[in-house]
Amino acid sequence: MNTTLAVILALAVGTYAFRLVGPVLHGRVTVPPRVQELAGAGAVVLLVALLATGALTESGGFAGWARPAGVLVGAALAWRRAPFAVVVLAAAATTALLRLAGVG
């Protein structure tokens, strides 16, 4: 079998197996309330960690100033309860403008 095809299939099967963990366990085992609580909190913890590493890092190093600055503008707007669209567009626009101005 073609190696690239094997890579794709192995990735697909493994990833789908991870994704099935929740739906398969659900209803089969009684998940204690404490574990459900932790799963819910765990999702938020993962998302915040993704957001922090996604905003600040790139390939293991610092992502430069333009991206975190854009995310910070978005965060400030979200804190002021600005609409979702405004938050996301302002973040991307800030980063794009900073790069246009030569900030990395």
Binding site: T3, T4, L5, A6, V7, I8, L9, L11, G14, T15, Y16, F18, R19, L20, V21, G22, P23, L25, H26, G27, P33, R34, L38, A39, G40, A41, G42, A43, V44, V45, L46, L47, V48, A49, L50, L51, A52, T53, G54, A55, T57, S59, A63, R67, V71, G74, A78, F84, A85, V87, V88, L89, A90, A91, A92, A93, T94, T95, L97, R99
Partner: protein, 233 residues
């Protein structure tokens, strides 16, 4: 937008589609660049297209293709991609209830579990809206992502350097907008999430991609049940 109405269905759908569409747009452009990058690197068009349909995980796809193009070998490519996707197991536990009850629904829904759809669903205030948010954002994202990858792969590298558009700031900003209400409302979650994220940042230069986010789960050690309010369990 949050007001309780007697017949909220149409408004709910419209507002969910409106909010999802920005995530779709940003993902679509990233998909175009994934297709373009893969083909520009020398892979045939079917590779990014098939991978996007069956693996369907942006960061894992980029890193797997990156390893392949850098000559890193198939085992390294698979290992990197899978490591990045381990978090979807935790996410699928968090949304298991949201997907729905039928077998087909759960097996199809599992494939749509991504950072974006989970964040979007969990940010909704009630179970009905959570389910709608998951499916609307998930099906749309799947369609847009795959069409974007196909377009990028066919068009080659026409888009150029996507960093110019600041789109790399869009996804972290999406996450900020989605998790901020949960962080604001729940001190316990805040106490886990902030040290967890700090730990992830601290180890990022030292460990392989995918590991930092998983290590953030150590923040859950700080999760204490609110025993002060007459805990009987």
């Amino acid at each position: 937008m949050r007001s309780v109405q007697r017949t909220p269905t149409r408004d709910t759908h419209a507002s969910l589609v409106r909010d999802s569409s920005l995530v779709w747009l940003a993902s679509g452009v990233v998909g175009v660049s994934f297709g373009a990058v893969s083909v520009a690197g020398g892979l045939p068009v079917w590779v990014p297209v098939l991978m996007s349909l069956v693996v369907y995980a942006g960061s894992a796809q980029f890193s797997a293709v990156g390893v392949l193009l850098a000559g890193g070998g198939p085992v390294a490519a698979v290992a990197t991609g899978l490591l990045l996707n381990t978090r979807t197991a935790a996410f699928s536990l968090a949304v298991a209830e949201i997907l729905g009850t039928g077998r087909a629904t759960r097996f199809l829904g599992a494939h749509l579990v991504t950072d974006e759809t989970v964040a979007f669903a969990l940010a909704q205030p009630d179970p009905v809206r959570q389910r709608r948010a998951f499916w609307i954002s998930g099906l749309g994202l799947f369609a847009v992502w795959n069409l974007g990858v196909l377009a990028g792969a066919v068009a080659g590298s026409a888009l150029g350097d996507t960093a110019r558009y600041g789109l790399d700031a869009a996804f972290p900003a999406v996450l900020v907008a989605l998790v901020l209400p949960a962080l604001r409302a729940d001190a316990t979650v805040r106490r886990c999430a902030l040290p967890g994220a700090a730990l992830a940042l601290a180890v990022t230069p030292a460990v392989p991609a995918g590991v930092p986010v998983l290590l953030a789960l150590a923040g859950l050690l700080l999760h204490r049940r609110p025993a002060a309010e007459g805990d009987t369990a």
